[in-house]
Symmetry: C2
Subunit: 257 residues, 2 copies
């Protein structure tokens, strides 16, 4: 049997500390091919590039590891790599390790999870990893073993059809991690607080800032609860956005013009 | 009772024909405030702008209509407008009318639906409209009345919590439209076919192209089926990406390191 073929990508860019940690996490498990953005793509969600062409470059090659980077978004990385680099379907796609949380509603803004969902649409088993530390110098060493165990689970047990995983990890010492919780995405939102400034030509401009507001009332089955209690959160994510249980409500409306 | 306050945005940019049609659709129903990107943002999904500051400008003002544009993405438009323009919560957010389909999996790449989902996260009743004609000169006149009826339904009946609507409209004459179908997102994917070219300096570059592949086996309850049979498709969309029915499967895994 051939070694598992492992596709690594991220949204913080090829030079981020997090992707180096992710490569370290999965390299013992198989043959690794990396295609990641040249530059940081935080907040790029599932964006794809349609107005400019894509380019990619091989950066280095060693035993069981080949590293490419491209000028596109995380979702572009998946599409381009599947089209140009992979001669067979990867056994798993892993994205991250993101510098910062992608729990709760942050999943929809996340380039890390954009790549994961794109992988899932392409019928690749896909997992996103995010550490709750936004610092570019974040310490990923404490969560490598836990992350690897989740990857091993995926390789051994498989993911259900049209389902991927959003894994978030608390930024604590390994011995403080209480374990893994399978949970649902917490209800919450980012409350915007635009930082308004005036440029030297008297023009107004606005920096997006804000804070996360948890909209749960103490439920213990959410990713936010798990993380704030030093558990690793694993949220199964599906690519069907249909609100199936709301169909009946809308069928009752009168649409006659 | 005050007039409904209606927030209009899109992803094709403030000068697109589709947003003019959307303004025409909703203007008879209330007071309209527009905040849309200066430029086209197709494929921007739910991307937000974190590396450059946002700027916006009032473009025109007439009775019951004020038009602004900004340099951000569709999701940025929602955040910035909610922060800077609205003194009370809009009664509805409408996005589009997109030039081209956002049915099936296209929802995840769609800037039009990025704005809608951002509205929904902000607890605004939000609806995206897309016409199945990618042309910049598409004819929106045939579907104005049907679209307005859906907006009226939302204003009168309300949307369930954390649910928004993805409305796609066939590009046919009004009398050929068979009605409205409430449906689920069809299973499908975009099959990439990168168009590889060589630049004048011998560098390779790639244009993203591709075609949509429907993965349904003739089911008649999907948006793709409805549209190909000249129905308007209405898909209720939820912002919770959790695959609730898959939780049990992942709880059985062994996560011990």
């Amino acid at each position: 049997m051939s070694k598992p073929l492992i596709f690594v990508t991220n949204d913080d860019g090829i030079n981020a500390k997090g992707i180096a940690a992710l490569i370290e996490m999965v390299k013992p498990l198989g043959e690794v091919i990396v295609m990641a953005p040249f530059r940081g793509n935080s907040g790029m969600s599932h964006a794809i590039t349609v107005k400019v062409p894509l380019r990619y470059k091989k950066l280095r090659e060693e035993e069981n590891l080949t590293v490419y980077a491209c000028n596109g978004t995380p979702a572009d990385c998946v599409k381009l790599a599947m089209s140009q680099l992979f001669h067979r379907k990867p056994d798993i796609l892993v994205s991250g390790i993101n510098h910062g949380s992608n729990a709760s509603i942050s999943i929809i803004y996340s380039g890390t999870m954009g790549a994961v969902i794109e992988g899932c649409v392409n019928e690749i088993q896909s997992v996103g990893f995010s550490l709750l530390d936004y610092s570019s110098d974040a310490d990923f060493s404490q969560i490598i073993d836990h992350g690897r165990k989740i990857v091993q689970n995926v390789l051994e047990n498989g993911l259900p059809e049209a389902t991927c995983l959003n894994v978030n990890l608390p930024a604590v010492k390994k011995q403080e991690i209480k374990g893994v919780k399978v949970c649902r995405q917490a209800k919450g939102m980012w409350k915007e607080e635009f930082d308004k400034r005036i440029d030297p030509r008297s023009g107004e401009y606005f920096w997006l800032t804000g804070y996360f507001e948890n909209r749960e009332n103490g439920s213990t089955d959410t990713d936010e609860w798990a993380l704030s209690n030093n558990y690793i959160s694993v949220v199964p994510v599906e690519v069907d956005f249909t609100a199936h249980d709301k169909m009946g409500y809308f069928k009752k409306w009168n649409y006659e013009i």
